[in-house]
Amino acid sequence: MNLQEYKDIFYNGLWKQNPGIVQLLGLCPLLAVSSTVVNAVSLGLATSLVMALSNLSIAPIRSYVPNEIRIPVFILIIAVLVTVVQYLMNAYMYGLYVVLGIFIPLIVTNCIVLARVEAFASKNSALPSAMDGLAMGLGLTAVLGVLGAMREVIGKGTLFSGIDLALGDMAQGWVLHIIPDYKGFLIAILPPGAFIGLGLLIAGRNWLNLRAAQKARSKPAPTPLASPEAAQG
C-alpha cells in the first residue's frame, strides 16, 4: 500500500463512494440525529470509531472465520465494539448519551458498518481496512455535519446548540445564534426536513459533479430544449 492508495481510500470514503449521499447506507442515524450539528458530528465520530475498529479487528481474522457463520461473527464483533463505545459514552458523556438515545446501539445494524466489513475488510489487510473504515466513517460524519448545520440553522437559527453536552459546561457559551430573533422553521428539524435536506445534498453533489464534467469538456452542454422548428420537422 502506497500513499496514493491511501489517498484513494479517503477520496472514496469522503466523496466518490460517500456512504451517506452516494451509497445511501447508514441513513437512519444520518437522518434521525442530524437535527443539530453537535448531535450529528458526535454520532458520526462514534460511528467512525466503530467502523475503524471493526475493520481493524476483522481484517486479521477474516481467513479464520468459516463462511457460514461469517455474518453472525462479524456482527458479534461489531456489536461488542458498539456496546463498548456505548458504555464509554454513558459513563463520560452522559448528556450526549441521552440525546443520541437508541441510535448508539443501532450503530450495530447501521448498514454501512457491515457493508464495509464485507466489502473491504474481508478482502484486505488490517491497516488499509482500518483506514477504509475511518474514511467511510468520516465521509458519513461530514454529511452528518453538513446536514446538521443546514437543519439547525434553518430550523432554529443557531449553530452548535447543545455543544455543552459533548464538551462539558465550559462550552455553554459557544452556541452561535446565526439569525437573531429567529422564529424557527420547525419543518427543518422534523423528519421531513431531514429527508429533503439530504435530497438537496445529493442534488448538490450531482451538481458539482456535473459542473466538473462540463468544465472538463469545456464546451457548452447541449441545449436541453428543442427549437420550435424541430416540432414541425
Binding site: 463462511n67 457463520i69 453472525p72 447541449p222 428543442a226 424541430a230 416540432a231
Partner: protein, 191 residues
C-alpha cells in the same frame, strides 16, 4: 460474568448448530441467473465484451466478476435491462465502448478467393461457401459481429450499414417545443 458467558454460549451454540447444519444441508445449486442474463444479451457472439461469447459474459456477470456495461451491441437498452434484472444502477458505457450502428458483413465477390477463413470465424454460420468457391454472407443471419473481417487474407469483407427502408423504419421520438429532448441518440438514429 459466568451467567453472561453461559447465556451467550447457549445462544451461540444453538445458532452455530443451526447454521452449520443449514450450510451443509442447503447448498446452493446451479445459478439460474446466467440463463436470465444470457437471454438479455444480443447473442451477437462478437466478443467485444472481452469474453469469448455472450454466455461466458453472462456467467461472468452472474458471478459478479464483470460489469454490466461491457456489451456494445446490446446498447444502452441492454445495460438498462441488465440493471433492472440485477437490481443495480444503470451505468453508461465507458470511453470508446459505445455501440455502433447496425451493419452486416458484405463480401466483395470479385476479390474473394474462397479460403474459408471467414467461414470458420463466423460464430453463427452466416457465411455460405466451400473451399475455392466464392463465399456469400447470408445477410439475414449475419449479426454484424465483424469477426470475419479480420481473418480475410485479401480484405474483401466489409461491413455495410443496414439501410433504412420502409420495413425497418421507426417512428421518431416526437420532439416538440417545450419538451426537453430526452432521446438525443434516438433522434440521430432516426433522422
Amino acid at each position: 460474568m459466568i451467567t453472561a458467558l453461559l447465556v451467550m454460549i447457549g445462544i451461540s451454540l444453538a445458532l452455530g448448530a443451526v447454521l452449520g447444519f443449514s450450510a451443509i444441508k442447503f447448498k446452493v445449486e446451479g445459478n439460474p441467473l446466467v440463463e436470465k442474463i444470457d437471454a438479455v444479451l444480443p447473442q451477437t457472439q462478437c466478443g467485444q465484451c472481452g469474453y469469448p461469447g455472450c454466455k461466458p459474459y453472462a456467467e461472468a456477470i452472474a458471478k459478479g466478476e464483470a460489469d454490466i456495461n461491457k456489451c456494445p451491441p446490446g446498447g444502452e437498452e441492454g445495460i438498462r435491462k441488465l440493471a433492472d434484472l440485477l437490481g443495480v444502477d444503470y451505468k453508461p458505457f465507458g470511453e470508446g465502448a459505445a455501440p455502433k450502428a447496425k451493419a452486416v458483413a458484405f463480401i466483395d465477390e470479385q476479390t474473394c478467393i474462397g479460403c474459408t477463413l471467414c467461414l470458420q470465424a463466423c460464430p453463427v454460420d452466416a457465411i455460405a461457401g466451400a473451399a475455392k468457391q466464392m463465399h456469400t454472407i447470408i445477410a439475414s443471419e449475419c449479426t454484424g459481429c465483424e469477426l470475419c473481417v479480420e481473418p480475410c487474407p485479401v480484405d474483401c469483407i466489409s461491413m455495410k450499414l443496414i439501410p433504412e427502408d420502409i420495413s425497418n423504419w421507426k417512428w421518431p421520438y416526437p420532439v416538440y417545443a417545450l419538451t426537453p429532448v430526452r432521446n438525443e441518440a434516438r433522434k440521430v438514429e432516426a433522422s
